[in-house]
């Protein structure tokens, strides 16, 4: 039986000085919460997870990316206010702007202890220039191609990766197609029954239907 995420978190924090670990809760049916690891200590934490005799997460099955756009979160906060001399507690809605960032998510298993998965996340500073993360390929070799895929589709630059090139798209390609603000090249082609997004595209490419005069609704009386 694997230890709980809280136990693993405290083990890491006591073993590695200065490591900052957050638990990202997942309230969904899977209940698979994950550990958010600070980039400075990521490689040490990964090594600890792999080598600790009770944990031994020796197998990274999956590495993938997530794109988080800039978003606004509305929260209800209790604020103390002085109204007419007396202190009152009032509820106020505050809007917090969370800047966008990219994440790399790793799923780890232990073949030795037959336990897992544990999910760890690394988070970039922003979605623009600061999309750099430490590569975990030196810890888990299986992450090599998957980190290349994350680089190809999300544009996260993994520092310390032995061979960081595009893997699915061609080398000359400039975009990152899995980012949420990506728009594919507009080479629209005839569709017999356009709908949804395709209908919007179709409207851009064809002259609008001419205004009808209402006569088409009149049917001949028998």
């Amino acid at each position: 039986m694997m230890e709980s995420l809280e136990q693993i978190k405290s083990q890491i924090e006591s073993a590695i000085l200065g490591a900052k670990i957050d638990i990202v809760p997942n309230a969904g049916p899977s209940q698979q919460s994950s550990l958010l690891i600070d980039n400075g200590h990521a490689r040490k934490v990964a090594k600890f997870l792999r080598d600790h005799p009770a944990l031994r997460f020796d197998f990274c099955t999956n590495a993938t990316g997530v794109d988080w756009l800039e978003r606004v979160v509305t929260k209800k906060v209790k604020v103390k206010k002085i109204v007419e001399g007396t202190e009152k507690e009032e509820e106020e809605t505050q809007q917090e702007k969370i800047p966008g960032y990219l994440e790399a998510v790793y799923h780890l298993y232990s073949i030795e202890h037959k336990h897992g998965p544990i999910i760890i996340r690394l988070r970039t500073d922003d979605r623009g220039e600061g999309t750099r993360l430490p590569s975990l390929t030196p810890i888990w070799r299986s992450a090599e191609f998957q980190e290349r895929e994350i680089f190809d589709l999300y544009g996260i630059r993994f520092e310390g990766h032995p061979d960081l090139r595009r893997i699915l798209m061609w080398d000359e390609f400039k975009d990152y197609p899995m980012r949420k603000d990506y728009r594919e090249p507009d080479d629209y082609e005839y569709e017999p029954t356009p709908h949804d997004d395709v209908l919007e595209k179709a409207k851009q490419h064809y002259a609008p239907r001419p205004q009808l005069d209402g006569a088409e609704n009149i049917t001949a009386q028998p």
Partner: protein, 207 residues
Amino acid sequence: MSDIDEGLRSELQRQGIWVTSMQELYNWGRKNSIWPLQFGLACCAIEMIATAASRYDIARFGGEVFRPSPRQADLMIVAGTVTKKMAPQIVRLYNQMPDPKYVISMGACAISGGPFKQGYNVLKGIDRYIPVDVYIPGCPPRPEALLHAFMELQRKIDEQKLTGAGKAEHLDPDQPSEFPVPAFGGHDLEPAANADIFRPMKMERNQ
């Protein structure tokens, strides 16, 4: 062939004399020895393999000799999804095939991009870059459909003329037998289609 009376020809045949024309003999030979280029791109290729294997047996039509080199192939079966990364290689292989050459566009992806048409990474039909002789719809088409396309192609070859006004395309020196290979661009293939041969359908919205 039109010079010989059909009745006379039939009469001669009854007497053991077989009369034919150069064109008929030539096309008969060509249509019964179509050698496809051996490559597959996706699940359609599995159906193509099944067509070549003993149950469906494309050898009955003279097409069993799948060639591993474009220099020896007459027919390109584009069997599967053509990704944009793969498209230049397909066009290059087509260019390397000697004339006369034919293309079968097999399956929804090779025709139009199929289920991936709205994506960023799949070519919306190989007919954007090379001329296609026979299209087979299906996802994937059954081996019978490929055999049907093969027979359609045989019919087409049989009707090709060697001389005169409407002679076959590959005999016309003005007809190109090679087509420009698209380049990998920053956002898409460049150009996105060969405007000389690609004639997409237009949607009529004003009716």
